[in-house]
């Protein structure tokens, strides 16, 4: 694809312009190839390499302010045989709940947009969901405090309406608060992923189902879900992993016990325990890779990319 001056030598072009020396040509071709590989090299060096090296650094020995090469499983022991494991497992639980809630609330929107809105207008409706995502994460998460607080918006409105007689305190500084925060932060992603996934479900399929008189829930379970599964899975993994890894959520919305992997890692860094932070990162990466591998085996995730190709 990357051709450099293909007209050289042919069509008598060299009569008019002086021929370009072969050495310069080779140099140019090498340069353009290097240019095209630049993003890949960049991502390899600054993204794949650091994440892969977390495994190596996690077995280093901890020193007072840094770490030194060596082999010890102390960091893993520190993670697996302490309250950290319980925190990690319970944050996995909360993340899974958020995935399910986001799917139930968000995926019908993706189906609705694909099915009922004219093709040209579909992208515009999707754009609406980009808007909340454009407000800074920290502001969106912090803004939930005045909304969910004891004297906050939700409680005030519900008290005024007479739905409740006492303010609800279970929705902030509790696991419930973390789940609400995760759903509020990541719901747009299940809409995007679902929207992309529904590309795999052509409109005529709904017409066929209607003609054959299939009931709605059967259309959903037997037709939409299997076809859109890769996209839904990718969106679900995104929410799950971010729920585990974004430290701000439990830090700001969770109570004393709410700790996820991201928070363990940043706390370890603050305590200058770098091998532990790296061990947490390595465990998170292993979780992510296992999930993606599982998803790939089950649904062939490359199918998500078909709309791009």
């Amino acid at each position: 694809m990357i051709k450099v001056r293909p007209q050289l030598g042919g069509m008598g072009g060299s009569d008019i312009t002086a021929p370009i020396p072969a050495s310069r040509l080779r140099w140019q071709r090498g340069l353009s190839r290097a240019l095209f590989l630049l993003p890949i090299i960049f991502m390899m060096v600054f993204f794949a390499l650091p994440l892969a090296l977390t495994v190596v650094w996690s077995v280093f020995e901890r020193t007072m302010f840094w770490m030194k090469p060596g082999f010890t499983l102390f960091s893993y022991e520190n993670f697996f045989f302490s309250a950290r494991l319980d925190n990690f497992l319970s944050s996995m639980m909360h993340s899974s709940v958020s995935v399910v809630v986001s799917f139930v609330l968000g995926f019908p929107i993706a189906v609705f947009i694909r099915r009922r809105i004219p093709q040209v207008a579909q992208h515009r409706v999707i754009l609406l969901f980009i808007l909340p995502f454009m407000v800074s994460e920290i502001i969106r998460i912090f803004a939930l405090r005045p909304v969910l607080q004891r004297t906050g918006l939700v409680n005030t409105v519900l008290l005024e309406l007479g739905v409740i007689t006492e303010p609800i305190t279970a929705i902030l500084y509790t696991p419930m608060g973390v789940i609400i925060g995760e759903v509020m932060s990541f719901l747009p992603f299940i809409v995007f992923a679902g929207f992309l996934a529904m590309e795999a479900v052509p409109k005529y399929i709904f017409e066929i189902c209607d003609d054959l008189g299939a009931p709605r829930h059967r259309v959903f379970i037997d037709v939409i879900l299997p076809l859109a599964a890769p996209g839904i899975f990718a969106g679900g993994v995104f929410i799950f992993v971010n729920g585990l890894g974004v430290a701000l959520l439990p830090n700001i919305l969770g109570g004393p016990g709410a700790v996820n992997a991201g928070l363990i890692a940043t706390q370890a860094i603050a305590a200058l325990d770098f091998p532990l932070a790296m061990a947490v990162s390595a465990i998170m990466m292993a979780t992510l890779l296992a999930l993606l591998y599982l998803g790939h085996r089950l649904f062939n995730l490359t199918r998500i990319l078909s709309p791009i190709n």
């Binding site: 890949i40 390899m44 929107i109 890894g245 947490v280 993606l292």
Partner: protein
């Protein structure tokens, strides 16, 4: 589509639900903006409209300094990351083998799946190690000009921001490129255009909208980013780090409400105007295309 007419109310209810979800997602931000104009602050019985809390923002030197740093980072990230994403998208389209395609797409999209704190910690330790390696190598070689290359600072923060934003850029540009027909470049090349001319004069005008919206996203995303920047930035302040430290130290003060709503307001205004512009623009393009497609009546 038949039952849209027979079941108009379910259709309307679904629309209502969609808009309600968007509204709910935005509600906390709107509420913060609402509080920021109240002279009595959060939770007060009486609402007195005021700009008082905003006036303090622009005279805060620490904040203005942080704003400068943040804007600089956002600008450089955009200048570097958008061309990188564009080149990657070109490479993805051009490369023939499935394995190269898979490698490109998985490398460029996987940062989406790596949470901020995990990537930030990994890069932090990576840069610290590089720094030590450089110092050791410098000592060994007896030269020192490269010793400070990998110190935590603008460079490391930029790397973190580029890795954060590049998946979005890649996807946005790739989707706009999907509408471009590669044969046009080939035609241009066979007419004697150089590769650069074929790209800049033929292809770029057609993907310009995607590139520009990728730029806007990058500016906003890197302006808003907290976790990666704060882990990698070294000594200086950015807007979000000032905001977070203010919120964590003093609780939500009136000024932090004002700052939050100002930042959100800017982001909403920028993205909102881009969305509106794209809508109007595509409408006009469609109308023009339809007009051109209509047969010319001879009198």
């Amino acid at each position: 589509m038949g039952d849209d007419y027979t079941r108009l109310w379910t259709y309307r209810l679904k629309w209502l639900y969609t808009l309600l979800v968007v509204f709910t997602l935005m509600l906390p931000v709107f509420y913060v903006i609402y509080i920021s104009f109240n002279q009595n602050g959060f939770g007060a019985r009486d609402y007195v409209f005021t700009f008082e809390w905003y006036s303090g923002i622009f005279t805060d030197l620490l904040l203005m300094n942080a704003l400068g740093n943040t804007m600089l980072l956002a600008a450089i990230t955009t200048v570097l990351a958008v061309p990188l994403g564009l080149i990657a998208a070109k490479f993805y389209k051009a490369t023939g083998t499935d394995r190269a395609k898979l490698l490109t797409v998985s490398l460029l999209l996987s940062p989406l799946f790596v949470p901020a704190d995990i990537l930030g910690s990994a890069l932090l330790v990576f840069f610290k190690n590089l720094n030590i390696a450089c110092a050791t190598a410098g000592e060994w070689l007896g030269v020192s000009w490269f010793e400070t290359w990998f110190e935590l600072g603008y460079f490391s923060a930029l790397v973190g921001l580029i890795i954060y934003t590049i998946p979005y850029i890649f996807v946005v540009i790739l989707i706009t490129m999907g509408r471009y027909k590669e044969q046009q470049s080939e035609a241009a090349r066979s007419c004697g255009a150089t590769a650069w001319q074929a790209f800049y004069q033929i292809e770029f005008p057609q993907i310009r909208a995607g590139v520009f919206s990728a730029c806007a996203f990058t500016v906003i995303l890197s302006f808003n980013e907290y976790t990666r920047t704060s882990l990698l930035k070294g000594g200086y302040d950015t807007i979000t780090s000032v905001l977070i430290s203010q919120m964590l130290n003093e609780g939500m003060s009136e000024q932090s409400y004002a700052m939050s709503s100002l930042i959100s307001f800017i982001a909403i205004a920028v993205i909102g105007s881009i969305i509106i512009y794209t809508l109007v623009h595509t409408d006009r393009l469609e109308r023009e295309a339809r007009a051109k497609a209509q047969p010319v009546m001879s009198s």
